[in-house]
Amino acid sequence: MSLTRFVVLVGALAGALLGARGVAAVEGPPADGLPVVWSTDSLAYVAWPERGGASAGAFVFTRGAGRTPLDTLEVVWVRDAIAAIRPLPGARPPARGQTVALVGAIAEPRDPSRGLLRIPISGSPDALDPLYATTLAEKQIVTQLFAGLVRLDASLAPMPGLAARWSVDGAGYTFSLSDDARFHDHRPVTAADVRATLLRALSPKAHAPRVEGLAEVILGGRAYHSGTVDTLEGVRIIDPRTLEITASSPRAPLLGELAAPAAMIVPAGTPPAPMDERTLLAAQSGPFYITGTTARALSLAAAPGRSGGPAGLDLVRVDGPSDAAVEFELDRLDVVAPPQAIAGRLQVAGGVRATELTCDEIATYYLGFDTRRPFLADREHRRVLAGLIDRALAVRVLVPGRGRLAGGLLPPLFGVPAPPESAWMMPRALAETRARGGFGGKAPELSLWIPVGSEVGMRLAEYVTAAWRRSGLRVTIVERAWPEFRRGVAAGEADVFYWSWFADGPDPVAFLASMTASDRRGDGGNRTQYANASVDRELAAARGAPSDIAATQALRRAELLALADAPLVPLFHPINVTLVRPGVSGLVLDPLGAPRYDTVEVR
């Protein structure tokens, strides 16, 4: 679902919300909706009294089978116990006997006294359904709109989410849902919703890109995900508010996977496909909900009933760090992660010193080779190309203060020691010898793709192409807007590409598997389409290892195998240096790159 599609529906809602008219608060939506008592060609009449929250300008929507929202309607007037509702342009009035549900949360305007937080978002987020979120920007957005049973704090420790608490017994986890766990239409989140969410996520019909880790950690998850069984063995409803999830093994990182976007809870009945906008509006359960969208920003408002934190969140689109810095300097952003070169100047812009926050992110920026390309399918060619790059020099010169040289694929925060470079990287002199004259004129002209706005990416691409050209290779830098960049990489149009991988959780196996496992090729995270059965075996061994030591050893073997095959060249692990405008406090950076903003105070 693209953001632009929100304009039709959400734009109208936002207009009403942000307008002067205001909308009356609703005290709890009727669980079964409002029956239509009469209907004409232009209006429908529902039994919704003013004391029940009905007011002119409020919005409702019709529900179809499976509680799927159909059309949006506006309350025209309220008299006694009857409200007249009018469909928005393009929709028809509901027929008599049909039920009309309230769009619950929209009835609450943003409270100016609680402030508005303006956050930059890079790239063009496309999927707002958490099950289909793959990019960092999408992850950053769905983290605000949806919630999982648990979430991870800055130290990656599991914290209560929609589940107020849980108990662990071996591989069994019993979750008790929070009393205030509700969807934004005020419907309480139930154990059935949680089970339905996990079933939807792992359904083979969903074709979800990032659920391999989830399938691995839930008992019976892989069998269900592969379609060999019809039930998810490891999920059992104890009561409407209690749920038991059995992990595939006592060491399986179940809580980390349940904190990932793919496991964020959506209402039962949500089909195993990307949600349409109306379904999405009713399915949100996170700290914020979407109130509107413009070409420049996505506007969110605090979820109903949530106290503290900003009343609203504007996710402002920016084209890279420099663009964000300009917006920050123009006082259109409250938070920015500026390029190192201007960070100092920006910190004291306007005579007010911004607060600097630093966080080592669990991510790896790398140069990927598309192994489907004939020339790059040859391991030796990839190793030579990798060997020509002086990674240490490039990172030291081009990513100063913003990245640590990647010793391997796994960020150091995972605690897995990186293999020595000499164990996997071809010596530069040897690489130069083998690459001389562009592999003796056999090398085709290569394209190195970077997304528009990635300044570090452009500098690294310039360095890498200069190094390769010195060996007689022909290489062109291709700069593409994010959607085209992503599509081109997926379609195999890019020979080489600059990409990053942010961890969804604290599991190093999931992290490494995402980039190297053959079953993660494509949107699963393995963008190079690399496949090595040995790597797959070592990853499986790491996951099923009886001890941490055995798991780490298997993981190191897998990493070394992958590094030696050079489907990608790890460059650096990012250091997030963020400036926060004075008056904004409580922001905690997330090593996974997707902080929640509901704890931020804006004065």
Partner: protein, 603 residues
């Protein structure tokens, strides 16, 4: 007009010969002289371009040196180099500053190295750093404190030739780095020189490969034309050797010369091939040659015209004299020439006129005498012919007178005899007179379709006595021709009568006809004594006869009639063993149209 004017032709040819000598000289030597002048001009032009390019290169060399020295003196650069020395890597600030310095100074190629020759930044290639150029002679010189500028071949990833200067960056007398930069001898340079010098230019490396060219398609031709030649040992040859080459590319002639590009060690690292189009000179030359050819042709035509006019003037009185002489020769003595020019020819014409006057007078006298003589002869002949029949008449009258004198009573028989005799002889006289009259009249034929066989039969019936055997051998295809039947009957009658008389009324007369494409041939052969050889040429002459009582007009009349029909009458030689005469009449199928116009002359 010139027909028969051999004198005119000779005069014209003589005049043309006189005119052609200078014209030929002009045609042969004119283009050579003009071409040589243009070649000199072309050499002067290429020499000018050569000087201009050399001067431009020298200016660029000096400009590059001054600019690089100015950059090397920058305190900021020195500071950044010191930072790089401390950090062991170029600071990003140095890389960005080098890019900006290159842009600001308008230098196409700019590089900063540390004191050891390790590249720290390139202004034209932001990604190029971290490799050594210590071996470069300019950098090596700068590291010893010397500033140099020279044309150098660029190493990969750059390619081609550049005019670079290098200068040391010093801090308190210590060299902390080197700045190297200048202009590329690339398309931009080529374009500049092309515009400046108005010449085509190609930059060639030491192997003669074209690196840039204002006329890319012609670069190889320029390279070939400026390829180094084996040295000329002979001093005289060396002095005369043309250092330029003329080539034709794409239909355009160029004068091409090489400008050597010495490197830092004064050895050539390449050359510039400069070529000046000779197309304009060629066009001018062609125009001049066309003009020359046109002038020659016009001169030729004028010479012919003048020759004709002069020849006409000279030969006109001569031709008039010749024509008049021909008329005189034909007997026209009345011809008179107009007054001639006041020269020898005029005198000649006067003398001619006097001569013709004399001749006319003489001929008049002669004709008069001849006419009198002829008339006397005719009168004598006529008198003689008439006298013969008159004698019997006189005798008959005298017999009547004598009978009367004798007193014969029976005068009747005497008178009757005398009357018979008189009537008979008078008839002879009348016939005699008629024949003379017929010859004189000679009426024009009135042609119509006649059967010659019928006419021959009539003639045989009328004039051949029964004692003569007529043998007919007629053409079976018939004897129809177009002729005057009366005249032709008379001609055939005369022939038959003549043949019968020749045979004294006994023998065989053979009449033969043959019809052919060109007419009818009639052979009339007798068995008489034939025609003696001496008479063969006279028998058709009027009044010639071998017979005692012949008038001599018979065969003359036959020939006149036959010739009037466009035919011929000839005496064929007798057949072997015979003596008879054989007259052959050749008649066309249709007589020529009678002309009523008098014969005209052309002159």
């Amino acid at each position: 007009m010139l027909r028969g004017g051999r004198l005119t032709r000779r005069l014209v040819l003589a005049f043309l010969f006189v005119a052609l000598v200078p014209l030929g000289l002009l045609a042969v030597f004119g283009p050579r002289i003009v071409r040589r002048q243009f070649e000199t001009l072309s050499h002067q032009r290429i020499a000018g371009v050569h000087q201009a390019v050399l001067h431009d290169l020298e200016t660029r060399r000096e400009t590059a040196r001054l600019r690089i020295e100015a950059l090397a003196a920058s305190p900021d650069l020195a500071r950044q180099l010191q930072l790089a020395a401390v950090g062991g890597a170029p600071p990003l600030e140095l890389i960005d500053a080098t890019v900006e310095r290159r842009t600001a100074s308008g230098i196409a190629w700019l590089e900063v190295t540390d004191a050891k020759g390790l590249v720290l930044a390139r202004g034209h290639d932001r990604g190029a750093f971290g490799f050594s150029v210590a071996d470069d002679p300019l950098v090596a010189a700068a590291r010893t404190g010397l500033s140099l500028a020279a044309v150098v071949p660029l190493a990969a990833p750059d390619s081609g030739l550049a005019l670079l200067a290098a200068a040391p960056v010093t801090v308190q007398g210590t060299i902390v780095g080197v700045v190297r930069g200048g202009d590329l001898l690339d398309r931009s340079f080529v374009g500049h020189v092309h515009t400046l010098a108005g010449a085509q230019i190609a930059v060639l490396d030491s192997a003669g490969r074209a690196l840039a060219a204002s006329l890319p398609e012609g670069a190889s031709a320029f390279a070939e034309a400026t390829a180094p030649r084996p040295p000329v040992t002979d001093a005289e040859e060396a002095a005369e050797e043309d250092s330029t080459t003329r080539i034709v590319f794409d239909g355009v002639p160029y004068r091409v010369a090489a400008v050597p590009l010495p490197g830092a060690d004064a050895r050539p690292v390449g050359r510039l091939a400069v070529g000046v189009s000779e197309a304009d000179l060629e066009r001018t030359l062609e125009s001049l040659l066309r003009l020359l050819a046109g002038a020659t042709l016009i001169g030729l035509f004028v010479a012919i015209g003048v020759a004709l006019v002069i020849a006409e003037r000279v030969t006109r009185p001569v031709r008039a004299l010749a024509h008049a002489a021909q008329r005189v020769a034909r007997g026209d003595l009345g011809v008179r020439l107009p007054p001639g020019p006041n020269d020898e020819v005029g005198d000649l014409m006067g003398a001619f006129n006097a001569m013709t006057v004399d001749l006319a007078a003489s001929r008049e006298r002669l004709v008069r005498g001849e006419r009198q003589s002829a008339w006397a002869q005719v009168a004598r002949r006529l008198a003689h012919e008439i006298k013969n029949p008159l004698t019997p008449i006189v005798l008959a009258v005298e017999e009547v007178e004598r009978a009367h004198a004798r007193g014969d009573t029976d005068l009747g028989p005497v008178i009757a005899r005398a009357a018979r005799t008189t009537r008979s002889e008078t008839h002879v006289i009348r016939q005699l007179v008629d024949e003379f009259g017929d010859f004189a009249r000679s009426p024009a034929p009135r042609p119509e379709s006649v059967d010659a066989h019928e006419l021959l039969d009539q003639a045989a019936d009328l004039y051949a006595p029964s004692t003569v055997t007529v043998d007919r051998d007629y053409d079976p295809d018939g004897g129809t021709i177009t002729a005057d039947p009366a005249l032709l009957a008379r001609a055939f009658g005369n022939l038959v009568k003549n043949a019968c008389e020749a045979m004294d009324g006994r023998g065989t007369l053979t009449l033969t006809t043959r019809h052919g494409a060109d007419g009818l041939t009639v052979l009339c052969a007798d068995e008489g004594p034939g025609v003696v050889a001496d008479d063969a040429n006279k028998i058709f002459t009027p009044y010639f006869t071998t017979k005692a009582d012949g008038t001599g007009l018979g065969l003359a009349i036959v020939r006149r009639i036959i010739e009037d029909h466009g035919g011929t009458l000839a005496l064929a030689p007798p057949l072997p063993g015979t003596t008879g005469a054989r007259f052959v009449v050749q008649l066309p199928l249709r007589p020529p149209a009678a002309s009523t116009e008098p014969a005209t002359e052309t002159a």
